[in-house]
C-alpha cells in the first residue's frame, strides 16, 4: 500500500529563476529555454534573459556597490566564508547538478565541487590581505608620504566560462567580489543550473542583495548590452569565444571599460594566483606632505 502511494508520488520540479538585486525574478521577457544534460536529456527550463534583465541587474549592482565596497575588508571576508559554509551544506545538490551538466561521474563531480568550495574560502581569505600585497608606501624623492592603495573598479560584468559550470564560475566570480566590486554574472549558456543555484546560496549568506546578480540565457544576447552599457566599469570575457570576445571588446571601448580577455585555462583546479583579483582593482595613490622637514628640527 505504502509502496504504491510512493510510486504514484509526482516529483516536484524546480523552477530555476534569475537572481537579481537579492530577489529571484523570472526573466522580464517571460522566456525560458530548455537545459539538457550532456546526453541531451531534459533537466529543467532556465530563464532566457533579455537585455532589460541585464539593465535591471546593472542597476541592482550599482546600487549595491557603495555598501559592498565600503564594507571593511574583514567583514567582506566573513561574509564570503559564510557563503562557503552554505555551499558545503548543499554539496550534494551541486554534485548532482555538476555531474548532469558536465557528464562527470559522481566522484569527479564531487571533486569539482570540493575544489570550488575550497577556492571560495581561499578568496575569502584574500579580502583583507590584497591591499598589503598590491598597495603600500612608495619611496619618493621629496618630503612626502606616498601611499598606494587598491580600490575596486565598480560594477563588473562576468561571462562565466563555458567548460566548467561550477568550479569555473566560482573561480571567476569570487575574485571579483572579494575585492569589493559588484558583479553581473552571465551563466554558462549550456549549463546554467549550478550558477542559478549559487544565487540561492548567496541569498542566504548575509551577502547584500545586488552584490552578485546571476543571469541565464544566450551569452551573446546578454553580453552585448552589458559591454556597451555606460554604467558597467569592467567586463570579464572568460565565457566568450574568439569572435564574440572581439565584438564585445570593441563595444566596451566606448566608455573605456576595463576588459579581461579570455585567459586560456587548461586546468581549473590549478592554483589561480592573484591575477583575477588585480585585474579589477584601481590603484589610488596619495601624496601627503610630511611637514616642514628640517625647519623646525622635527624628525618627520
Amino acid at each position: 500500500m505504502s509502496d504504491k502511494s510512493e510510486q504514484r508520488r509526482l516529483s516536484v520540479f524546480k523552477t530555476y529563476k534569475l537572481y537579481v538585486g537579492g530577489k529571484f525574478p523570472r526573466s522580464e521577457s517571460g522566456r525560458v529555454y530548455e537545459v539538457t544534460d550532456s546526453k541531451g536529456n531534459w533537466l529543467a527550463n532556465a530563464p532566457l534573459s533579455s537585455r532589460k534583465d541585464a539593465r535591471d541587474a546593472v542597476v541592482a549592482a550599482r546600487k549595491a556597490f557603495g555598501g559592498w565596497s565600503g564594507a571593511t575588508a574583514y567583514n567582506r571576508g566573513q561574509i564570503l566564508y559564510r557563503v562557503a559554509e552554505m555551499l558545503e551544506g548543499r554539496r550534494e545538490q551541486y554534485v548532482r547538478e555538476v555531474a548532469d551538466a558536465e557528464g562527470l561521474s559522481r566522484l569527479k563531480a564531487g571533486a569539482q565541487v570540493d575544489a570550488a568550495i575550497d577556492r571560495w574560502v581561499w578568496y575569502a581569505g584574500w579580502t583583507d590581505k590584497i591591499a598589503q600585497v598590491v598597495g603600500g608606501a612608495n619611496p619618493v624623492a621629496g618630503p612626502y608620504f606616498n601611499l598606494s592603495s587598491p580600490e575596486p573598479t565598480g560594477v563588473v560584468a562576468v561571462l562565466a566560462p563555458r567548460e566548467s559550470s561550477f568550479l569555473g564560475l566560482v573561480s571567476v566570480l569570487a575574485p571579483v567580489i572579494a575585492t569589493g566590486n559588484t558583479a553581473v554574472v552571465v551563466a554558462a549558456e549550456q549549463a546554467p543550473l549550478p550558477a542559478l543555484s549559487l544565487g540561492e546560496v548567496l541569498a542566504t549568506s548575509d551577502l547584500p542583495g545586488g552584490v552578485v546578480n546571476v543571469l541565464s540565457g544566450r551569452t551573446a544576447e546578454i553580453a552585448a548590452p552589458l559591454a556597451a552599457h555606460q554604467d558597467v566599469n569592467a567586463i570579464d570575457l572568460a565565457g566568450a569565444d574568439e569572435v564574440l570576445a572581439r565584438e564585445l571588446e570593441i563595444a566596451a571601448a566606448d566608455n573605456l571599460k576595463r576588459v579581461l580577455r579570455p585567459q586560456p585555462v587548461d586546468d581549473w583546479t590549478a592554483a589561480p594566483g592573484t591575477d583575477r583579483m588585480t585585474a579589477f582593482l584601481e590603484t589610488k595613490t596619495v601624496w601627503h606632505p610630511t611637514g616642514s622637514l628640517g625647519a623646525s628640527g622635527s624628525s618627520y
Binding site: R55, R62, P225, A228, H229, Q230, V232
Partner: protein, 384 residues
C-alpha cells in the same frame, strides 16, 4: 412573443435611475429639505443618485444635460458653496469610489507597451512636464541656480532636449530661481501657505503667498488644511483656498491635497472637487514629504475629477502628481492615464505636471539610450 418596450427614453444613459430629468431637482442648494442622497461606497459609475449628483462622472453628460454655456454652468456650481451645509451635501453626494475598480483600472492602464517613436515622444513630453523640485532645509542659492540651469537645458550634450516646465522652490528662493531661469520659458513655482504642514494662521499663509508672488513666482503651490478637511470643516478649507487664490493674483494656483493623509479615495474625490470649486488652476496630489505620495490610482481619480469638472463647467483644471515618481517607466504610465482618462487636451505642460527631482535624470538616461542604442549611466547626467 414580443420583447417588452424599453423602459427609458433612447437618449438617456442605460443605467440612469429615477424619474425623467424634468422632474428632478436641478440643484441641491434649492432643495435643502430633500433627503440626502445615500452614500454609495461601491456603486459603479452611472448608478448615481438623482439631481446634480447623477450628472457627475457620467459619460453621456454632455449629450444629455451638459449646458453648453460655461458661465451658466459655473454659476450653477457656485451655489454649491453658498453655505457649509450645501457644500457638505454636495461633496458627500459625490458617488463613492470603487477602490478595487479604480486600482484595477490604474494597473491595467499601466500595462500598455509604449515603444520606439511613441516612447521618444512620451519621454520628451514628460521632460517638458517636469516641475524640477528642491524643497529641502539645506537648499542653498547655489543649488537653486544649478537646478535652474538644469531646468533650462536638462541635457547640455543634446540641445534638442526640451526644457523642464518649472523649478519649484521655497518662497525665499524664488528670486534666486527667477534669475536662474531668466530669458527662458521655464516658470518658477513656489510652495507657500506654511508648506508642507499648512499649520499656520491664515494671515501668515497669505503673507507667505504674497511674498512669493512679489518675488516673482509664476505659480503658487499651496497646501490645504488637512486637519480642517478631515474634521469636516469643508467651508473653512474652501474659504482658505479662495483667499489664497485672491492673494496669488495672476500666478497660477496649484492646490496640494496631501492624498497620503486623506485616508480614503472618497476623501480624495471630495478634496478634488472642493479645490476645483474654490478656483484651483491645478490640483496636486502631495507634498512629497509623507510616506505615500502620487500613485497611479489617486492620480487616475483626480484625472476623472478634472474631466468631469470640465464636462460640467467648461473650466479646465490641471493635475500634478508629485513625489515618488522616479523612473521613466512610471512617468510614461502616468501619461497613459492622462490620455485615456482626461484626454489629449491634458497632454501639455500647461495642464499636466510631474513634481519630481530624480525623475528627470532617469528620463535623460532613457533619452540617451534611445539616441545611442546603449544604456546610459548616472555618470552621464548632472547630480542634483
Amino acid at each position: 412573443m414580443s420583447r417588452p418596450a424599453p423602459a427609458r427614453p433612447a437618449y438617456a444613459p442605460p443605467d440612469t435611475p429615477g424619474p425623467p430629468r424634468s422632474a428632478r431637482d436641478p440643484l441641491p442648494s434649492t432643495t435643502p429639505s430633500s433627503t440626502p442622497p445615500p452614500r454609495a461606497t461601491s456603486r459603479p459609475e452611472g448608478k448615481t443618485p438623482t439631481g446634480v449628483y447623477s450628472r457627475y462622472a457620467r459619460r453621456y453628460a454632455r449629450l444629455v444635460t451638459m449646458p453648453t454655456n460655461a458661465s451658466a454652468a459655473a454659476h450653477a456650481l457656485t451655489d454649491v458653496a453658498s453655505s457649509d451645509s450645501t457644500l457638505r451635501r454636495f461633496l458627500h453626494g459625490l458617488p463613492g469610489v470603487d477602490a478595487v475598480g479604480l486600482e484595477g483600472r490604474a494597473a491595467s492602464l499601466g500595462t500598455r507597451s509604449i515603444k520606439t517613436t511613441a516612447k521618444a515622444y512620451a519621454i520628451d513630453l514628460a521632460i517638458s512636464m517636469v516641475d524640477l523640485t528642491t524643497l529641502e532645509g539645506a537648499d542653498t542659492p547655489g543649488k537653486v541656480r544649478a537646478l535652474g540651469a538644469k531646468a533650462v537645458a536638462p541635457d547640455p550634450t543634446d540641445p534638442a532636449t526640451p526644457s523642464a516646465a518649472a523649478v519649484c522652490v521655497y518662497p525665499d528662493m524664488v528670486a534666486t530661481a527667477k534669475a536662474a531661469v531668466a530669458g527662458s520659458a521655464v516658470k518658477v513655482a513656489s510652495v507657500a501657505t506654511a508648506f508642507p504642514a499648512g499649520r499656520a494662521p491664515l494671515s501668515v499663509k497669505l503673507a507667505d503667498v504674497r511674498e512669493a508672488v512679489a518675488r516673482g513666482a509664476d505659480e503658487i503651490d499651496m497646501v490645504i488644511d488637512r486637519g480642517a478637511f478631515l474634521a469636516g470643516h469643508y467651508m473653512k478649507v474652501y474659504d482658505e483656498i479662495t483667499a489664497v487664490r485672491e492673494a496669488s493674483g495672476a500666478a497660477r494656483l496649484k492646490v496640494i491635497f496631501e492624498t497620503g493623509e486623506l485616508s480614503t479615495y472618497d476623501n480624495i474625490r471630495r478634496a478634488s472637487w472642493l479645490g476645483m470649486l474654490a478656483g484651483a488652476d491645478f490640483i496636486k496630489t502631495s507634498t512629497g514629504k509623507v510616506a505615500v505620495n502620487a500613485t497611479p490610482a489617486n492620480t487616475l481619480l483626480m484625472l476623472e475629477a478634472v474631466r468631469d469638472f470640465r464636462a460640467q463647467t467648461g473650466v479646465q483644471v490641471g493635475v500634478k502628481p508629485a513625489g515618488g515618481i522616479r523612473t521613466s517607466k512610471d512617468a510614461v504610465k502616468f501619461l497613459v492615464l492622462v490620455n485615456e482618462t482626461a484626454g489629449g487636451d491634458w497632454l501639455d505642460n500647461h495642464w499636466f505636471r510631474f513634481g519630481a527631482s530624480s525623475l528627470l535624470n532617469d528620463l535623460l538616461m532613457q533619452r540617451q539610450k534611445l539616441a545611442t542604442g546603449r544604456y546610459s549611466g548616472p555618470d552621464y547626467v548632472t547630480v542634483d
